[in-house]
Symmetry: C2
């Protein structure tokens, strides 16, 4: 009896602990939507209990790691952190502001996997790791393929385990203007989830249902509080006309998409949901305007986060 009571207590403690516990560590290596070479989209993510990170997109790597180092987030050198703690890249699409840091740091990197949908791997092979833009450090493509980075072809809506980490990923196709595709990554650590969107336009503007498909998949996770954070782009302020969005969101369309999610998950489910605003393009005072506009229109009471380079976030 005493033994049973002990087990019961333990399981209650465990349950409470798992509810309160953070599931993911995130360190942005770059947060801006273009122009500033020192701070372009790249987000390190590890399970809360681990230092084995994946990197979601890879616009800026080295400058971001140096910033994290100066913020005392790790003890080893920046070079060792890149080599040993960054276990894999997940790339949403091959626009330069999402892959430049990966390519530039590849020669000094260690063997690792690049996970992406086939169209992204195709462009990485043909236009970056091709001996013309850069030596071919990939596992395929223009000969000789030096086979440091191993291309891992993801399949839309099929979960894949990310080697050397405790994370899994399920990718979704996105529309990024004019027949260009991008990717959303749903990450899983046990029964906890995080959703990262690469560049994307709103369904209504893109004449697509790609965002809605993602919302339908993750709505139950939002309801059950298993989705710990959403990373979604807001590249331009509301002053930018729809025909000048070029496959990106502004605050108005951001909230139009949130409305779709609210309808599927229930409005109250969005309250306090962590939403990291990514990819604000730093032209003029765009960033300030976007922050103001996104904050003012926050009728769902999302926990909006304007993440900074080299800072640790726990979700």
């Amino acid at each position: 009896m005493k033994h049973l009571f002990f087990l019961l207590t333990l399981s209650i403690i465990n349950y409470q602990f798992s509810v309160a516990q953070n599931a993911f560590k995130v360190i942005p290596l770059g947060v801006k939507g273009g122009l500033d070479e020192s701070n372009l989209s790249a987000y390190l993510v590890a399970p809360a209990e681990s230092d084995n990170y994946i990197c979601l997109d890879a616009g800026t790597i080295r400058t971001g790691i140096e910033k994290a180092k100066s913020n005392k987030l790790f003890k080893t050198t920046s070079e060792n952190f890149l080599k040993n703690n960054l276990k894999a890249y997940l790339i949403s699409h091959a626009h330069l502001d999402h892959v430049s840091g990966l390519v530039l740091n590849s020669v000094d990197d260690t063997v690792k996997n690049i996970y992406a949908l086939p169209f992204t791997i195709d462009y990485l092979q043909k236009h970056y790791f091709n001996w013309k833009s850069w030596p071919n450090l990939g596992s395929d493509g223009d000969s000789p393929a030096l086979n440091k980075y191993r291309y891992k072809f993801l399949v839309p809506a099929a979960e894949a385990q990310i080697e050397n980490t405790a994370l899994s990923v399920k990718p979704f196709l996105l529309s990024h203007s004019n027949h260009y595709q991008s990717t959303a990554f749903l990450l899983r650590n046990n029964d906890n989830y995080m959703l990262y969107f690469g560049d994307t336009g709103a369904d209504e503007v893109e004449k697509s249902d790609k965002m809605e498909q993602v919302w339908k998949t993750i709505a139950p996770l939002v309801k059950e509080k298993k989705l710990k954070a959403i990373f979604l782009e807001v590249s331009f302020p509301d002053e930018t006309a729809d025909e000048k969005l070029y496959g990106h969101l502004n605050p108005k369309w951001f909230y139009k998409e949130m409305e779709t999610l609210a309808k599927l998950a229930g409005k109250d489910a969005l309250k306090e949901l962590n939403v990291i605003i990514t990819h604000m393009k730093p032209t003029g005072n765009n960033e300030e305007m976007i922050k103001k506009q996104v904050s003012e229109q926050n009728k769902y009471r999302l926990n909006l986060i304007f993440a900074e380079q080299g800072v640790l976030y726990n979700f």
Copy 2:
């Protein structure tokens, strides 16, 4: 008689002034040989009397302009400086660490020319401005070509005027390992010259005579003190074996090339010659080692300069 004397005095003053006068202003926007996305090869050059700059290579643009701005080198905004004061790009080769900043900043830039040898323009078209890595802002290539950047095909050893500036350029082919080509640019402002090398290996290692051809051309200018500065790369320290140089120089080979120049121009002609060491790869403590080794072996008493990002140099 008094009038003649005045004219004579004036012409002597003018002559002395022109001897002492600087011919070029240089602002490095980035100086490192890879890895650090915030500080990659890019050098602004203008005639001493002008604020109309060209940019030699374009690894990092925005972060470098911001740095120059914070050093109070100009009064306008960084965005206006890019748009209005940077008049043309000259690209030595299409490796990503020499073009990333150009591509990333192109959407917010104004109409301007890109001068390069045909192999570089071919790669820019096919692998960067191709609607896959980036929208096609070039004047040719994958349709639609948005025609913001006009490709200007240079011809080896033929001088071309750089539009919207008082500068002319004569390009030379270089060997950058394994059948890859690069370019040296000889800039002219009236009767003053400056020589910029893109990435290059030493002739002996590359089994080439490309460097020697450049030295033969510019030796008379060195003798006559018309060559105001040479920008030459030293990517690795002497500990790097020849077969690991991959088309780059270390201090030993740098001085082997200087020896060729000394033989052609006379050893004394090299004394006090401004030589800017470019493209040191910032792996480990490479940069310190390269500086030490280049300084220690300086038997020609070159005026060695380890240029910094965002600082003004007058030559």
